[in-house]
């Protein structure tokens, strides 16, 4: 390839192209769908594991140190290393490998914020609940968890936004949702339009999901608005 060809190629390689989006809409939508599915599954699974862990850490004080430390260590391990541990065991072509890594990452953010939320529940409310005859579980479900909801939602938002960004690393094994577009564009002769489309959709997805969670939080915690 001569230098002139390279220069020409550069001229015909815009950062944004409606034409690319039109002709590849099904690929883009598939990637977006995979991205959304992976994010939703990862955050949902992380919630199911992390909120009970947060409650355990809250009920049994001596356990809160080890639980936070363990999820902290999991968080410190680089995502690529996690993928390298998980993929050979699970199967490199399955999105499950990516999913497990994402769940382990989201874990710390949700556990920590759940615990912080539970710690913020006013002592008076708890004593009142106990005085009204609530047992441990009843108080947890009816008093502690609802009052800890702002903290839990903060964790959920952080986890969702960072998971959306993190899904892209799955592109290394072809299971990265929009990351496939980003990395694919780079490997496909530096196709800028494909890279930027993937990136923009990724950031937009994070923004939209964050706004949805903020909205859900406002609906679920009406008292935080009335207080102001």
């Amino acid at each position: 390839m001569s230098l002139r060809d390279l220069a020409y190629q550069d001229a015909a390689n815009p950062w944004f192209s409606w034409d690319y989006i039109r002709t590849n809409s099904s690929t883009i939508l598939d990637a977006l769908g995979e991205h959304v599915t992976l994010t939703a599954e990862a955050v949902a699974l992380a919630m199911v594991v992390a909120v009970p862990l947060g409650v355990v850490a809250y009920w049994f004080r001596p356990l809160s140190g080890p639980i936070l430390a363990l999820s902290g260590v999991l968080y410190t391990i680089p995502s690529l290393a996690l993928l390298a541990f998980i993929a050979p065991a699970v199967g490199p072509t399955k999105s499950t490998s990516v999913l497990i890594g994402l769940v382990l990452y989201a874990l710390l953010l949700i556990v920590r914020n759940t615990l912080a939320g539970l710690n913020q529940v006013p002592k008076e409310a708890q004593e009142a609940a106990t005085g009204m005859g609530y047992g441990r579980f009843g108080r947890l479900i009816r008093v502690d968890l609802p009052l800890a909801l702002p903290g839990i939602l903060t964790g959920l938002r952080l986890a969702t936004v960072s998971t959306v960004a993190l899904v892209t690393i799955g592109a290394l094994i072809g299971k990265g949702g929009l990351g496939n577009l980003i990395l694919g564009g780079f490997q496909n002769n530096f196709f800028k339009a494909e890279i930027l489309t993937g990136t923009i959709l990724c950031v937009l997805l994070a923004l939209v999901l964050d706004l949805i969670l903020i909205g859900a939080g406002r609906v679920l915690t009406p008292w935080t608005r009335r207080a102001r």
Binding site: T76, P78, S79, A84, R112, G179, T199, C202, A206
Partner: protein
């Protein structure tokens, strides 16, 4: 031979360490890239964070920066920057990683200067200290635990993220994993696992060393603060 055994064999082959492009080369690249990224992050973020904390403005800006960088995929910056004026090679990778080092440094510098007791600040002013003297002799020394915590968070995160440079063939230990995935699990499962162990070990080692360093630079009376800082430092960015 199962995969753990072949990882062990891979790590035990001296040539895998000393060959060109072997583990030692990759480790060197990894450390150079990480150090440069953290250094750029410090040069950019610390003065801004300290100044904003000193003047008490711009808290919203810092939240905005950390929220934004949380939403930007590392892989996206790593692929986009080489195609800009930065061109290929190490510079775009270092800049991409530096972007993710900025939020923890910025927010900790800001919080560190901001959290200084207003009464202490008033006392210093009453003693006739100027703004610059106040910053240098009162606020900065009291902010050291926060600055150290921010540095540690940023450095550990950058070391972890540098592994992703391998996506764009940028060097570093991640290259071993990426090459392994290129060869396939059947052929190079052991190499993938070994690379994972190396990357994880490096991240945990850096975390441990910097935790120790953080403890050393924190004056004893300020130490109880340290644990609190840990918990309050919101981990930003996807590593």
């Amino acid at each position: 031979m199962n995969i753990v055994e072949s990882a062990w064999v891979y790590l035990n082959d001296p040539l895998n360490w000393t060959n060109p492009g072997g583990i030692l080369d990759r480790l060197g690249e990894h450390l150079v890239i990480s150090a440069a990224a953290v250094a750029i992050g410090c040069v950019v973020a610390l003065p801004i964070g300290i100044w904003l904390g000193h003047s008490g403005r711009g808290g919203g800006l810092i939240v905005l920066v950390s929220d934004l960088t949380l939403a930007i995929p590392t892989v996206a910056l790593l692929t986009i920057l080489p195609l800009t004026f930065l061109s290929f090679g190490k510079p775009p990778i270092i800049v991409a990683l530096a972007v993710f080092a900025i939020p923890p440094l910025l927010s900790n510098a800001y919080t560190g200067v901001r959290q200084v007791d207003p009464e202490t600040r008033d006392a210093a002013k009453g003693m006739g200290l100027s703004g610059a003297q106040l910053l240098r002799r009162v606020e900065l020394p009291l902010a050291v635990p926060y600055l150290a915590a921010g540095f540690r968070t940023a450095a550990v995160q950058v070391v972890a993220t540098t592994a992703l440079a391998s996506y764009v063939n940028g060097g570093g230990l991640g290259q071993i994993i990426a090459a392994g995935f290129g060869l396939g699990i059947a052929a190079a499962g052991g190499q993938i696992l070994a690379g994972g162990v190396l990357v994880a070990a490096l991240a945990l080692a850096v975390e441990g060393i910097l935790a120790l360093l953080e403890r050393l630079v924190t004056p004893a009376p300020l130490r109880p603060l340290r644990r609190k800082t840990d918990r309050e430092t919101i981990a930003t960015g996807a590593a």
